[in-house]
Amino acid sequence: MSPLSRRQFLHSSAATMALALMGLTGKAESATGKKYPSVKIGNIRELKAGEPVQFTYPDSSSPCTMVMLNNEAIGGIGPVRNVVAFSSLCPHMGCPVSYRNGRFVCGCHYSMFDAAKNGQTYQGLASQWLAQVTLRIDNPSGNIYAEGIEGLVYGRIGNLNIS
């Protein structure tokens, strides 16, 4: 990646960058051990279709995005199985992906991932699909918990092997 295309990127995607820098340049706060933690990340009653919610999982250096889609999705939870969550780091080279219109788009090389179809790369460079966060909904409270990740978070040798 040439340095200037990176600058261009920084210029054009300042908002999403802030999120990534939090995860990528900050030192991970704690090792999380070998088991995925169960972390409450929101409540279904607070979600609005098409409006993404940011969180970190399984630790603070792994930014993730939860979104309620319009229709049923692979791995979706909730009454219409339309709530999904993914790592916000492009599995290609670690740039932040942003959610728009049913998919995640990477601002560096323009990979696009279908949020309803398991985070599959349907365009672009990422040979690995986006890592999908396993969600559980608690009824009747509607609380949503992140409880695992399927797929490797960018830049890690293991999702839970970061010091």
């Binding site: 560096c108 990422a126 040979s127 490797l152």
Partner: protein
């Protein structure tokens, strides 16, 4: 939950892991990769590993180090031991700088694994026994092939042997296999019924350039960053040569290479953010990604199918009219005698500008304003009178167009007229599909109709009942050849005829008995003995009598060059081929040696002599044997045009191992002053590849409508849509690996078409429906994806897919000058598919792949 099992951690290569360098097996970009092999259970640690990185912390964005789920596999070697295999993009490669595409990123999971995705690799020679195949020994397979070839040559002549083989590099073949195939078929068997893997004849795809004195690989990857304007003509770089786009063209558009321009350009010459022109009937991702970056510096021109040469000539005329052509270059470097013909026929200087452009607008559907804008961006001198630097990259949209020869020549000549050759930031060449690796004895048809051709159409020869043996190597013509439905129907019938004749109470397993029956079938029927040599079972192999298992990428040491820098590197052997599979060169060598033995035994020493020098022991011996065909390469830089584009004389595998990801650029010279091997960065700075060193012009044909094969559809209401084909970003070629990789088959489970929303509404179809696309040539079933890439009235289809081919629809037309098909243009009708929709549909994304907003 997930559609397939995902990985959440990866094994770490230890410091003492075996390390190799290689180059991606897929597209023309030729990205560098590093390979690590170590026994299962002997992992390194986060702090001590072969990557030399601290893996206990998370890599930063764009660090250039990638090791993802698709970059690891577990393999078993012939010693029975299981090894981890990691294949990661090379940060130190100047081609990819650590970047990688969706295809190259899967190099590791595509490697043969006896328990993994690719376990279905061919492992033994297989002989057809009725409806099934039985494993046989190499000894028997070689005896059957060599005896049948000898008997067939002796009785029916060498042209009774037809072949269809690669002529390229990468994809598990290289200079080594090309030399071996050339020795066997061109100087041994000497059949003239040869065809190249993706087309019906043995021809260059770009004789329109070569016969001007310009080989199609003449620029360097740096030129894509240095150009003032990059012109992509019928080349969807973002999806087909991805890293050329993201690492070289995209930074140029973003302004990331302005500093480099200032260093390379003349003193005082302006160098700013680049412009991009894309000539393509589709608004594909190469257009829309660029528009997302700098819409004001992107020009997208959408000619009617088949009309590009009229457009290129019109743009050239505008440049001429404005005085933007390079007068000094024309006078010093080009042949002014042939230039007269170009002026008359291509520039049409005897006609008024307005008349020429009005006619061009009508034929091409492109407005005069767009033509003028293109001419300006290609050729209008910059402030201070400095010549613009334009790099033109063309590919199958030009090559597989109607009138192949004239299309290629017109684009090349536009480039030469404007002096865009031999300087940094210029050049005019192919994008390429594969990488290259051609080294062969002379071909039977040396050139187009103007230079000793055209070559024979082998498809038509076979469908017309010609030939006794058809040997197909590393290609799947049942998907890839034009007018496919007819081709397949005839070959299936001819194969069945042969099988029926020899199967009297079973197919004999004794080679001698089998051979006698096949020869009897040759005598009494039009039966065809088909041999398929490949790494997997293919659609074509289903009708073969004999299947030969070949080694794949990484299972033999091979060499190739990429297309955007002619960068020669070693693709080292890092694992063993499955079962009895052998490198292609070895299989061809065994058959050649057996033929020599049979002819010697028959006391026919003249024929025996044709098969000599095929007893190579190692990969490198074949490589070195091939180099002798290039001749003396001790020349000064000023005479590089005299060398073959792929000349590597003096280079050895050992030298290439030392050079690793750096490689050396062909043509390689021995510098007369230093005696050292030196590469060639860009070509034709001093002269062109003609006897007098001058570029030879060609006057193109005028527009004369569509050929009969297509004209029959024009104005026929049954076939209202123009139809073109192309590639998908996600998969490579026939998906020979991708059909087994879940990341690919879930995402792209079926052949698909792209159709404009207006046409879809009129037809009453939605994304996710299945339709039949049909014309008088055949029918293809496809998944519908609605997007605005095509204008109303034009439909795009993926050229072929593991589950079907759009070449059922392409006609048998070929350019009479070159025998090159027009794969990318016909007309079709569309109707709903009445079968039950394929289950696979539910996993495929249907989102528009050209919308990045």
């Amino acid at each position: 939950m997930s559609l397939f099992t995902r990985k959440e951690k990866l094994p770490i290569p230890p410091k003492d892991a075996k390390q190799y360098t290689t180059v991606c097996q897929y597209c023309s970009a030729g990205c560098g990769y590093n390979v690590y092999v170590w026994p299962v259970g002997k992992d390194g640690s986060a702090k001590s590993n072969a990557f030399g990185l601290d893996l206990s912390t998370q890599s930063s964005m764009l660090s250039g180090h990638s090791y993802s789920e698709t970059m690891h596999n577990v393999i078993t070697r012939k010693n029975g031991i299981r090894y981890n295999l990691a294949i990661v993009p090379a940060k130190e490669s100047r081609i990819n700088k650590g970047d990688y595409s969706i295809r190259g990123g899967t190099n590791a999971i595509a490697a043969w694994s006896d328990s993994g995705y690719t376990k279905k690799r061919l492992k033994n020679p297989l002989l057809r026994k009725g409806d099934a195949f039985a494993a046989i020994s190499w000894t028997d397979a070689v005896e059957i092939i060599a005896t049948l070839i000898k008997s067939s040559i002796d009785k029916y002549g060498a042209d009774s042997i037809a072949m269809k083989f690669y002529d390229h590099g990468s994809s598990g073949v290289g200079f080594e296999d090309n030399w071996a195939a050339g020795k066997l078929f061109l100087s041994g068997i000497k059949t003239t019924h040869l065809s190249i893997h993706n087309r019906p004849a043995y021809n260059s795809e770009v004789w329109g350039s070569r016969e001007r004195g310009m080989h199609e690989l003449n620029y360097d990857v740096d030129d894509a960053r240095l150009a003032d304007t990059v012109l992509l003509w019928g080349a969807n770089t973002y999806e087909a040569a991805t890293i050329l786009y993201t690492e070289h063209i995209m930074p140029n558009l973003q302004g990331g290479s302005v500093d480099e321009k200032k260093k390379e350009f003349d003193s005082g010459e302006p160098g700013a953010e680049g412009c991009l022109i894309v000539v393509d009937p589709r608004k594909n991702a190469s257009v829309t990604v660029a528009e997302a970056i700098a819409k004001e510096r992107v020009l997208h021109i959408r000619p009617n199918l088949g009309t590009d040469w009229i457009l290129a000539n019109a743009i050239a005329r505008i440049a001429w009219e404005n005085g933007w052509h390079d007068k000094s270059f024309l006078e010093k470097r080009t042949d002014l005698k042939t230039f007269e013909e170009y002026k008359t026929k291509s520039l049409q200087l005897s006609r008024k500008l307005n008349d020429v452009l009005t006619e061009a607008e009508k034929i091409t559907g492109v407005s005069r304003k767009e033509m003028e804008q293109a001419a300006e961006w290609i050729a209008k001198p910059k402030t201070g009178g400095f010549r613009r630097r334009t790099l033109t990259i063309y590919e199958k949209g030009i090559i597989w167009n109607m009138k192949n020869y004239d299309q290629v020549a017109s684009v090349v000549q536009l480039n030469v007229l404007t002096g865009n050759v031999g300087r940094p930031g210029t050049g005019c060449g192919r994008q390429g599909g594969h990488q290259e690796g051609y080294v062969r004895p002379p071909a039977p048809a040396p050139g187009s109709i103007y230079a000793g051709g055209p070559p024979i159409n082998v498809d038509k020869y076979l469908t017309g009942g010609g030939g006794k043996i058809y040997w197909v190597g590393a290609t799947d013509p049942y998907l890839s050849t034009p007018n496919n439905q007819y081709f397949r129907k005839v070959l299936k019938k001819r194969s069945a005829t042969l099988l029926d004749h020899i199967d009297e109470g079973g197919v004999p397993s004794d080679p001698k008995v089998l051979i006698a029956r096949v020869l009897d079938a040759f005598d009494k029927t039009d039966g065809l003995f088909m041999i398929v040599q490949d790494i997997y079972m293919t659609q074509t192999a289903n009708d073969a009598m004999l299947i030969l298992p070949a080694a794949a990428w990484g299972e033999a040491a091979e060499t190739s060059i990429n297309c955007h820098s002619r960068l020669l590197r070693i693709y080292d052997k890092f694992m063993d081929a499955p079962g009895q599979a052998l490198p292609d060169w070895k299989i061809l060598s065994m058959v050649g040696m057996k033929l020599r033995e049979l002819y010697t035994a028959a006391d026919n020493l003249e024929m025996a002599d044709r098969f000599r020098d095929m007893d190579w022991k190692t990969d490198e011996e074949v490589f070195l044997a091939g180099s002798r065909t290039f001749g003396d390469n001790r020349l000064p830089e000023t005479e590089e045009a005299k060398l073959s584009a792929e000349c590597y004389t003096g280079v050895t595998h050992q030298i290439l191992r030392k050079l690793g990801n750096t490689g050396i650029q062909t043509p390689v010279r021995v510098d007369p002053a230093s005696g050292k091997l030196v590469g060639t960065k860009r070509r034709y700075k001093y002269s062109f590849a003609t006897n007098d060193g001058l570029f030879k012009w060609y006057g193109t044909d005028p527009w004369s409508g569509y050929p009969a094969e297509i004209a029959k559809y024009v104005n026929n209401p049954n076939y209202p849509f123009w139809f073109t084909t192309g590639r998908s970003q996600l998969v490579w070629q026939t998906m020979y690996h991708d059909r087994y990789l879940p990341e690919k088959y879930f995402a792209l489970p079926l052949p698909y078409i792209e159709i404009n929303p207006a046409d879809a509404t009129a037809l009453g179809i939605r994304s996710g429906d299945m339709v039949e696309v049909f014309n008088e040539e055949g029918t293809s079933v496809a998944l519908v994806c609605i997007n605005d890439a095509c204008r109303p009235g034009l439909v795009f289809g993926i050229m072929y897919h593991a589950k079907g081919s759009m070449n059922h629809l392409t006609s048998a037309y070929t350019d009479p000058k070159t025998t090159m098909p027009w794969y990318k243009g016909t007309k079709v009708g569309i109707r709903p598919y009445r079968g039950t929709p394929d289950e696979a549909i539910r996993t495929a994304s249907l989102l528009p792949n050209n919308d990045f907003s």
